[in-house]
């Protein structure tokens, strides 16, 4: 803080030596790093800030491109469609949030606070939904509970097309996101509190309500907002299984893709930005509070065996895990059925993508290429960027701006990001207009869309590194890039691989941003799922979704194997 407020070039004579020291310190390395940081700031401005600005402008623009103030909003507010969609969206998002966070809490509690068996297995199963596009659960639900679904009796005559289907699909899809947050929150427990409670003869239930729940409250708040935002801005699930139940996210899609009404799309996009920004703010606040709960004197809580509780936990987790596996299994089964529901013999007929909508096998190859490029460039940019932010000396203003912009995508729904990209890059006057319709724009947009989490991962890894490395290298006159490549990168390799995996999987499964940006030359597998479902080719849509899942899962496994070997080789120093 003191450094931040100290002016760099103070004319005061007292500060003279300091100023000189600053000048001396500005070695070639410093200049290089500052230049790098400047480039990063420019990159973030181009890929995050300016597209958002373009979206804002569009929402206030008339048919001739003139500024019309709030006229578009008035038109939109006047349409009866809005109130229906808004109510529906809020209902769906609230319901999904309550169910999802409750389930995630139970699951995380069972994993962290009991001694039930097979925890590793349950952890692995809970990660399944992350590896699939959100369309997969929706399609599976059609097969499970549709008019020909083999479990439709379970709905007691209600239709799966509508709120029921949307909520189930969204809970499936957002479950791992909530689980990660709640697990982290529960892991920061202080055993001393529990000992105190126990010695005060508090019952288990009382301890749960007075110690466990309050201890995790910020995690729960944070998870709720994250899930709420994910649901209210997702259109994959409602698009497939929503029937006539209109929601805001699908309205954006309808306006933009169906009616080519970009201005109205921008208006609804801005409406969606409200809950997203709110959630972002609450999440930031809650996380800070959560970490403050854990002091350096805290003693980690070790769960003690309790046959009854462990059995209940096992039962609960099994139910959730079975639900996840049934949904995934249904999609796989349906994708191999020759002609559902009349001919269930297995065949590869549904994998004959070249005769279907959505771009055929080429779209799958495009997705692989897109995911590969995103993982490669995304990791390089994010990690180098995080390193520059962390290790550049002084230069606080730019560092602060970069840090803030790097977190901004966390608050921007993919749908909104994608719209901003169209508006920004479609302008013929934009010097980057040539990117429009290319593979590069998909890669850039996906990197920007998932920048924040990757950035935070990199920053966390870098913070664990002793700053002495740099000082020692500097005094040994080792060039900075050498320290970076020889020390920083190898030490942070686990985090770097995690970032690459994160980019790859998200690039494979994402629909929301890229749906506005793909061109006939760059069709993607996840969008092919959407288009095939639209044309009624639901079994092939399931097949493509399964293929995406299989690809992500394979890469995830390879990552697991690679990290294990790498950890053994490069991280030996961490062990004592």
């Amino acid at each position: 803080m003191a450094a931040a407020s100290r002016p760099l070039a103070t004319p005061a004579p007292v500060a003279e030596p300091a100023v000189r020291r600053v000048r001396q310190a500005l070695s070639r390395d410093d200049l290089l790093m500052r230049a790098g940081l400047g480039l990063l700031a420019l990159w973030l401005a181009l890929t995050v800030v300016l597209p958002l600005r373009a979206l804002l402008e569009k929402a206030f623009e008339g048919p001739d491109g003139n500024f019309v103030g709030l006229a578009n909003f008035e038109t939109y507010l006047a349409s009866p469609a809005l109130s229906t969609s808004l109510t529906n969206s809020l209902l769906i998002a609230s319901l999904s949030t309550v169910i999802c966070v409750a389930l995630a809490f139970g699951y995380a509690w069972a994993l962290g606070r009991t001694c039930m068996p097979a925890k590793r297995l349950f952890e692995a199963i809970a990660a399944v939904p992350i590896l699939a596009p959100s369309l997969l659960p929706a399609i599976a639900l059609v097969y499970l509970f549709g008019n020909q679904g083999f479990a439709r009796w379970a709905l007691f005559g209600h239709s799966i097309y509508g709120p029921i289907g949307i909520v189930i699909g969204e809970v499936f899809w957002t479950f791992p996101h909530a689980l990660i947050i709640v697990t982290t929150a529960l892991s920061t427990a202080d055993a001393r509190l529990y000992e105190a409670a126990a010695s005060l003869k508090a019952s288990r239930a009382r301890i749960f309500w007075t110690v466990t729940l309050p201890g995790a409250r910020y995690g729960l708040v944070s998870a709720s907002f994250v899930v709420f935002t994910l649901v209210i801005t997702d259109f994959g699930v409602p698009k497939v299984i929503g029937g006539s139940f209109d929601v805001l996210a699908v309205d954006v899609y309808k306006q933009v893709v169906g009616q080519q009404n970009f201005r109205m799309g921008a208006v609804i996009g801005l409406v969606l930005l409200v809950p997203a920004l709110l959630s972002f703010a609450v999440d930031r606040f809650a996380r800070r509070r959560q970490s403050a709960l854990l002091t350096s004197r805290a003693v980690p809580l070790e769960p003690k065996p309790d046959p009854l509780v462990d059995r209940i936990a096992l039962l609960f987790c099994s139910l959730v895990a079975v639900a996840i596996l049934v949904i995934l299994g249904t999609a796989i089964f349906a994708s191999f059925a020759t002609f559902w529901p009349y001919d269930l013999r297995p065949s590869f007929k549904n994998y004959d993508f070249d005769n279907m909508d959505g771009g055929g096998w080429e779209s799958y190859r495009n997705s692989l290429e897109m995911a590969g490029l995103t993982a490669l460039f995304g990791t390089v940019i994010v990690f180098t960027g995080a390193w520059l932010v962390e290790k550049t000396r002084r230069f606080e203003a730019v560092r602060g701006i970069v840090q803030l912009t790097a977190l901004l995508p966390l608050a921007i729904p993919g749908l909104v990001m994608g719209l901003g990209y169209i508006f920004f890059f479609v302008e013929p006057d934009n010097p980057f207009h040539f990117l429009y319709g290319s593979m590069a724009i998909l890669v850039i947009c996906t990197i920007a869309h998932f920048y924040s989490v990757a950035h935070l991962t990199a920053v966390t890894a870098l913070k664990q590194l002793d700053p002495e490395f740099e000082s020692v290298s500097a005094s040994l006159k080792v060039p900075l890039w050498r320290t970076f490549l020889k020390v920083t990168v190898p030490v942070c390799l686990p985090a770097i691989l995690a970032i690459a995996l994160y980019f790859f999987v998200n690039a494979m499964t994402t629909v929301s941003a890229v749906v506005f940006l793909y061109s006939p030359r760059t069709q993607l597998a996840s969008i092919a799922v959407l288009n095939m479902d639209d044309a009624g080719d639901i079994a092939p849509a399931a097949a493509m979704a399964v293929l995406i899942f299989a690809t992500s899962a394979t890469v995830r496994l390879l990552y697991g194997l690679a990290t294990r070997r790498l950890l053994a080789r490069t991280q030996a120093w961490r062990r004592r």
Partner: protein, 344 residues
């Protein structure tokens, strides 16, 4: 696959821009063709055309009729398409009204049936084939529910079918629009809307695409799908337990047609595609999918479509349908949008 791998290998040095350039660089002229043809028809057409014209490569942009039309209209200041092929004639008329189409007489135009082309000379668009309404009726599911097969449009409003019929949304689907247009022309505006009000009571969902109702009926999701004869025939061929029914009052229909976009920078290639589209070879390919095609004498019979499609087509006033398209769709949306699938 190998090209992808090669591209991956070069990644270390490649920049984003390079990657883009690599995919853009191709020897043959690449023609961007907007189409609403079915995905499972495109391949055969493309292969035959590219075999005859190895120097031109087609890049399809495919979506439902309504979407393709909206996209073309939205892009009218800066059109992206070189050719529009396999789009409803009523939509091409709208594009023509906006002055988007280039008058061009393809080689062999004189052989095309006079009813299947733009009457202007040279024409702005030339028809390829006729596609018309058909019901897909799932006999297995109907048996379970004791439902009789409908034989006419009028039968569909029978309350027995409540919640068992799907039809395409006319705003997005050409197949949907030609039905609505046919009802309004056959019954007159007032009775036509009254009929749709009654039908609406039985409709389970309005789908985005014209094929989906038939595929859903084929999968037993609903008993009756209002669709078109090509999809009905194909779905039955794929093994669905359906019966293809032609309503006895008459079939709504439209033409799939081709036109060159005025602003194209690849005029030579565009003309080649237009020439090919009226050729006998092309018409024989159309005939594998549709009973009625642009050239006389190339008759075909769809295996599972019983009845004389050509004789059952209603008298269709395309000019009226095109001129009133916006009004009809606005009225339709006002009345029935609630049950529409997303992307209407």
């Amino acid at each position: 696959m190998s090209s992808t791998r090669r591209r991956f290998a070069g990644l270390a040095v490649a920049t984003f821009a390079l990657a883009t350039a690599a995919s853009a660089a191709r020897a043959a002229t690449e023609l961007t063709v907007y189409t609403a043809l079915e995905a499972d028809q495109l391949k055969a057409y493309q292969q035959a055309f590219e075999k005859a014209n190895p120097d031109v490569k087609i890049r399809w942009v495919r979506d439902s009729t309504g979407i393709v039309t909206a996209k073309l209209l939205a892009e009218k200041a800066n059109p992206q398409a070189d050719v529009v092929m396999g789009l409803a004639a009523t939509s091409l008329m709208l594009l023509d009204e906006e002055g988007l189409l280039l008058p061009y007489a393809p080689k062999g135009l004189e052989k095309v049936k006079p009813t299947m082309r733009d009457p202007a000379d040279p024409p702005k668009w030339v028809g390829m084939d006729v596609w018309s309404s058909a019901f897909c009726f799932n006999t297995v599911e109907a048996g379970k529910r004791g439902l009789k097969a409908p034989t006419s449009w009028a039968d569909l409003v029978d309350p027995a079918y409540k919640g068992q019929i799907t039809m395409p949304n006319p705003a997005s689907s050409g197949t949907g629009f030609l039905m609505v247009s046919a009802w309004l022309q056959m019954m007159g505006e007032e009775k036509g809307w009254a009929y749709m009000d009654a039908l609406h009571q039985n409709i389970a969902a309005y789908t985005h695409s014209g094929s989906k109702p038939c595929r859903q009926a084929g999968a037993g999701e609903y008993v009756i799908g209002l669709s078109f004869e090509y999809r009905a025939n194909k779905t039955k061929k794929d093994g669905a337990p359906i019966e293809v029914i032609l309503p006895k009052e008459g079939l709504g229909w439209d033409m799939e047609a081709i036109g060159i976009v005025k602003t194209t920078k690849k005029l030579e290639a565009a003309k080649k595609l237009a020439d090919w589209a009226v050729s006998e070879e092309a018409n024989r390919l159309y005939a594998q999918n549709f009973a009625i095609v642009a050239l006389p004498g190339i008759a075909s019979k769809l295996e599972h479509v019983k009845g004389d499609v050509e004789a059952m087509l209603i008298k269709n006033d395309f000019a009226w349908a095109a001129a009133n398209r916006d009004r009809i769709l606005a009225e339709w949306s006002k009345r029935y949008d609630g049950k529409s699938e997303p992307r209407s």
